[in-house]
Amino acid sequence: MKKYNLSHLRELEAESIHIIREVAAEFENPVMLYSIGKDSSVMVRLAEKAFAPGKVPFPLMHIDSKWKFQEMVEFRDHYAKEKGWDLIVHYNKEAFESGVGPFSHGSKVHTDIMKTQALLEGLTKHGFDAAFGGARRDEEKSRAKERIYSFRDKFHQWDPKNQRPELWNIYNSKVHKGESIRVFPLSNWTELDIWQYIRLEQIPIVPLYYAKERPIVEYNGALVLVDDERMPKELAETAEMKMVRFRTLGCYPLTGAVESSADTIEEIVEEMMVTTKSERTTRVIDFDQEGSMEQKKREGYF
């Protein structure tokens, strides 16, 4: 007799597809937030599968802080065109024109204005009532209790005390006018699951994840890539070529590289399994203060 048994990856895949379809069926105006990172790439692939052979029935939105790695933007534009995505790129125009950036304003101000504010602006502008995000519960301690449907009030704020119970695979999608939800279909995936799935499904990812000789400077204790001419000259002049790769992607001045020679998924996974640092340590914004992610989430950050 045939064995009806699913591997953990296929079970996670099915669970995520269920969530994506459920939101598409029950919300009026959903959007999938696309960060160009590896988790986003997996999430978009799951959405494509959920509605195959049809097209994904909602748009993708990229919140562009205008300080992303150039390779990310190229990757985004290439695949949006190739796959025919309905892609919205939103950025905080006013702040961008007045020159807000991490070098001049620091990570905290930059992140708040160019990421959090831009996100809220984008969601409000298009009137989205549900926004998919690629966050996983294993990323950080405060995410361990995050719901799959995370409720936000009219001001997109998250109240940890006022979240709804989630049982079985039944999700409560009733929201009042003006309220919205963030949906995390990858909640139960771990970093290893993501890599394995990328390998299994041969999902394209931004080449920055693979090791390569790159011009690197030390900035705020992290290895930062000299990605464009906006880096202060005196800093850029200190650049050295180093064999590095990135475990997470974001704004280039705020994302630290790790020295590595891993240029295949297998090598990345192997490196990850013997590594001694957790994924988020390469994100500069997490170091602020204890419970800092929780604070950001309350304010509307993903």
């Binding site: 064995k3 009806y4 048994n5 699913l6 591997s7 953990h8 296929r10 079970e11 895949e13 099915a14 669970e15 597809i17 269920h18 379809r21 459920e22 069926a25 599968k49 959920a50 509605f51 195959a52 052979p53 049809g54 097209k55 519960r137 294993d138 301690k141 405060s142 995410r143 361990a144 209790k145 709804r164 119970p165 989630e166 049982l167 079985w168 695979n169 039944i170 409560n172 009733k174 929201v175 009042h176 909640s187 139960n188 771990t190 290893l192 699951d193 394995q196 390998r199 299994l200 020679s261 297998e266 090598e267 996974v269 192997e270 001694t276 640092k277 957790s278 204890e290 419970g291 929780e294």
Partner: protein, 640 residues
Amino acid sequence: MTEAEKLNIKSFLDQDERKDLLRILTAGSVDDGKSTLIGRLLFDSKKLYDDQLTALERDSRRMGHAGDDIDYALLLDGLKAEREQGITIDVAYRYFSTNKRKFIIADTPGHEQYTRNMVTGASTANLAILLVDARTGVITQTKRHTYLVSLLGIKHVVVAVNKMDLVDFDKNIFDSICYEYKNFITDLNIPDINFIPISALKGDNVVDKSERMPWYNGKCMLEFLETVHVSSDRNFEDLRFPVQFVNRPTLDFRGFSTTMASGIIKKGDLVKALPSGQTSTVTSIIGAAGEQEDAFPPQAVTVTLADEIDVSRGEMLVHPDNMPRMERHFEAMLVWMDEKPMNPNIQFYIKHTTNTTKARFDQIKYKVDVNTMEQSNVDQLELNEIGRVVLTTVKPIFFDPYRKNRQTGSFVLIDPLTHNTCAVGMIIDKLSDKDLPSKIVDKDREKIIRGEALISQEEREMRYSQKGTTIWITGLHGSGKNNLAYTLERKLFELGAVAILMDGSTIRSGLSKELDYSPSDRAEHLRRVAEVCKVLNDQGVIVICSFISPKDSIREQVAEIIGKDKFNLIYMDASLEFCKNHKPEFYQKVDKGETVHVPGIDEDFEHPLNADLILKPENEEENLDELIRYLQNGKIFPIN
């Protein structure tokens, strides 16, 4: 990296992709060492990174509860507020994996006030780890957790008898705890129960077998978790395909998408759509990796059918020879999840599979005390309370009992105002639809059988502002009874009362058509009138009757039927003289002998001695006002 190493990681990944997933529930309070156990499973399976460990050591010194040891519990408490209170108040999900399996732990707090959190964690778990302190044995909390695990249908339980180091690894203590637990569990439906003696703090029997308990022959915790067989727990028998999304990208393609709730669907299968009952054949199944021959739970698939049949979201595809229950009316165990207590009189949204409709409570059969499992009667459920209820939905739902099918037997209730998920339920297979109480509750059913209305006299009086009574006007033929009756009806109508008029000629032309004017027929005729008066009075209507009703005995009988408190006798006291002048044609016929049985002439007319009001036809002008005053004073109309 050498070629050999590359091969090695490749084969690791190839193997790793095929691992299955075990979802575990852990319940317990801080003191049980639950967090310590989980922390150790995570730590010893190398899931902890250096930076997390450094932070942990720092935190342990600052706010730990483990003395000089590393406090693994700190690793788990995510939110700041909770960490400060020193308790875990929500469900936290943890992930780790070994060479054999991937694990998701739903970590829930243990206290009674967190029943809802435990229920949440239990809803998706395959297995529950219950911690028992070796020093205290089976306590109330253990029983409560076991009951909840059984209620949520978890099939595998591991009782981890913890802190064995504090009882000198004594086999007798372990054995007596096992014995006590087995005794207690006999009434609960949990098929697979296991006991493991451990010390989470010291690591005995957690990841490796302990040498300090050589008397224990079973597996250590991790090995047990890696090998317990759970895939056959799923229901592969009953095909339930609750349509989640209708995929219609082009005119040529119409697919129905869902996550398989249970059973197996194959290409070529004949399927029936509920509720329409239309059947068709499965032509293709598209899964996450493309076309496939069959699909099973929990795969997420899209199927196409040979015929254009009408199916939309919330409906279900099944095999025609294996049907779910399809009803609006069912019984369930309910857990109240909301701070706001149940209002049993309002409608809630109910979400069941992919189907959302509305539901109301018909009855709360009882509440279960989660500690003692004793039942008691209540009018409503409050936060964390569990009860057995009867519900009616607006649209039928397609369900199976929860014991048979976790997916089609579960539902959530959503508050219509706040939109919170206020309760969750598990459907019970017990009574058939017709045997369940509906909103017409038991008491009412008895009333209906007895012919009693469900609207009370008070409610009717409030609505009409009047008492359902009969104004019975008696008097000789031609005394002016009808004149009074008709003007009264008009007046009451103008004042807003609900009144009906009955007089001799109307009733005799229909209801009493076959009866004549002989005393016995007259009695029967008036009996019928009285019965009609009673029905109308009971429904709050004022009835104005104008009948000669010549004898005390007849009027007595009428009053008896209508009810003395509702019978108002008005006597139109006219002399025969007056009547003859008033109705000369009639009395001329009587004089000629053409008409017989005429009271006052050839039959007796007994003057009523007990009339409530006596009027003289000569005072026509005032009679109506006097009668209206009578109704006012008697609080017949208006009541206030």
